[in-house]
Amino acid sequence: MAALESQQVDRMETLTRTPIARSSIEASRYKLVAENIVASYNGIAAVKGVNMKFREKAVTALIGPSGCGKTTFLRCLNRMHELTKGATVTGKVLLDNQDLYSNKEDAIIHRRKIGMVFQKPNPFPTMSIYDNVAAGLKLNGVKDKKIIDQIVQGCLEMVYLWDEVKHDLKKPGMSLSGGQQQRLCIARALAIQPEVLLMDEPASALDPIATQKIEEMITELKKEYTIIIVTHNMQQAVRVSDYTGFMYLGDLVEFGETKQIFENPRNEITAKYVQGQFG
């Protein structure tokens, strides 16, 4: 097992051209592994063979200029990319060593283990606050009212929304402010009890205070979840993430500990990007 791990580290070093500190990597385990992901739209590759490993109970940030394939790569991790018309994916995504792409029918089950939060808050317009959080439960066959109540309250507490909405659970989800809607969507994603949480620029549509709340929440959530966050905001990546991957033109240019990527980048392009010279 250790030999295999070490082999994979070697391979990643060559692929990402980034030396990786072996001792720290071997100490903890990977929750999600992406192998040679190639994703394209109508034959044009947006992600060109990315290999990445995501540590359990850690936050990994994906940064890079617009159009570099971060979001596309993120959407490959829970098989959302293939839902777009004309989109194709090849490669492997291993969740606890199980390949998500090995079986076509299992996409639905995999998506329950890998929750996703989108850039723009998208609560279901016809549902109440309560029903929005309960949607993933009710529509996936959970019938026990007590369990649903318990999960709804628990998830709303986890996103620090419970105190703000506990008297208005019957109100439409759309009646909340933008920041509250986004936290509602995170609660909705948590309700299906995922193990991994993908976040696609979750704070880009929010003001600084709402952003701060979401960031605090991410720090709290990482105690239990493996979180992968795409962000345009480099300060945000520094604040919330443990590891950072820098993508450029569909490639993973550099991947390592956040501190190292920002303070001591090994790649020239990474250095230019994190110093704000382009992007």
């Binding site: 839902l83 089950i109 989108f118 279901f124 016809t126 949607a135 993933g136 529509l139 996936n140």
Partner: protein, 303 residues
């Protein structure tokens, strides 16, 4: 680079004549307003005439009694026709609404291919079909094979008329539901069929209801296909193998009779028909859409 001189030159090319612009604006406003008036005048005058002529005839007897002997001083009422129209609307919707909505779901969710395009094309052709042809079709298929005129044949013909309208409006309103709601559903690991029925359809509800109401209004006023299918009857519904009456048919017959009292009843029938459609429309909207005042999300298509 554009120099400052060039920029000054470019600015000269814009139209600066404000008074002419204001004048154009006023003229266009006038034309638009005039067109609205032109469109409203016929509608208003029809409504006015129907109410003026129809209201005096209205009475409990008129709404509940079968027609009396022609030309006698006991004109009777249009009870069987009201009953027939309500039954026809209900029975046709029983077939037309589910099939139409499912067809719309198919076209919107699974119809992005050659097969779907073909169906969409023929569906549009069917929507523009003369309804008398559909009546003849129902006559040939149902009446001739069963051997009698009946409400079943009428229901068959009217549900065919409903189908393309409902299919099209369902498809259009489903397509208006933003992709982000679909994605949110997929991200929660919800099955596609459940996403369609529990998330997309509820989001598209108001468009769906508009489509259904449009088609109900359309079939409630159809006369031509009914001549070949339900034939008309002086009495109340007495079985699925008997001819029945309907308001448009009754209005048509009454208006053709050479008696003033019959013509007056025809106006009354027209008023009742309009009131039925109006109350159905308001009633159904109230029933299905009243909870939605909180949400800012609204989809409407068609009328």
């Amino acid at each position: 680079m554009i120099t400052i001189e060039q920029r000054a030159e470019f600015r000269k090319h814009f139209r600066n004549n404000i008074s002419r612009r204001v004048a154009t604006d006023k003229i266009v406003k006038g034309i638009v307003f005039g067109c609205v008036l032109l469109a409203i005048i016929p509608l208003g005058s029809i409504l006015f005439e129907i109410i003026r002529n129809g209201v005096p005839v209205l009475s409990i007897d008129f709404l509940t009694q079968p027609p009396g002997a022609v030309g006698s001083n006991q004109p009777g009422g249009i009870g069987p026709a009201i009953q027939g129209t309500l039954m026809l609307i209900g029975l046709s919707s029983l077939i037309g609404v589910p099939v139409g909505v499912l067809g719309g779901i198919f076209l919107s969710e699974y119809g992005n291919n050659k097969y779907g395009q073909t169906i969409r094309f023929f569906n549009d052709v069917l929507a523009e079909f003369p309804t008398i042809v559909i009546g003849l079709f129902a006559f040939a298929v149902i009446v001739l094979s069963l051997g009698y005129f009946s409400i079943l044949a009428g229901m068959f013909a009217l549900s065919i008329i409903m189908l393309p309208i409902i299919t099209r409006t369902t498809e259009e309103s489903l397509k208006l539901v933003p992709v982000s709601y679909r994605e949110a559903g997929y991200a929660l690991g919800i099955k596609r069929s459940v996403i369609i029925f529990r998330i997309l359809l509820t989001s598209a509800k108001s468009g769906l209801i508009t489509g259904i109401m449009l088609s109900v209004a359309r079939i409630a006023g159809e006369t031509a296909p009914l001549i070949f299918t339900i034939l008309g009857n002086e009495d109340f519904f007495s079985g699925f193998d008997q001819p029945v009456d309907a308001l448009p048919l009754r209005i048509y017959r009454l208006a053709n009779l050479p008696y003033d009292s019959a013509t007056a009843q025809g106006w009354g029938g027209a008023l009742v028909l309009i009131l039925i459609i109006l109350s159905l429309n308001i009633g159904i909207r109230y029933l299905f859409l009243r909870k939605r005042r909180g949400g800012s999300f609204r989809i409407t298509t068609g009328g």
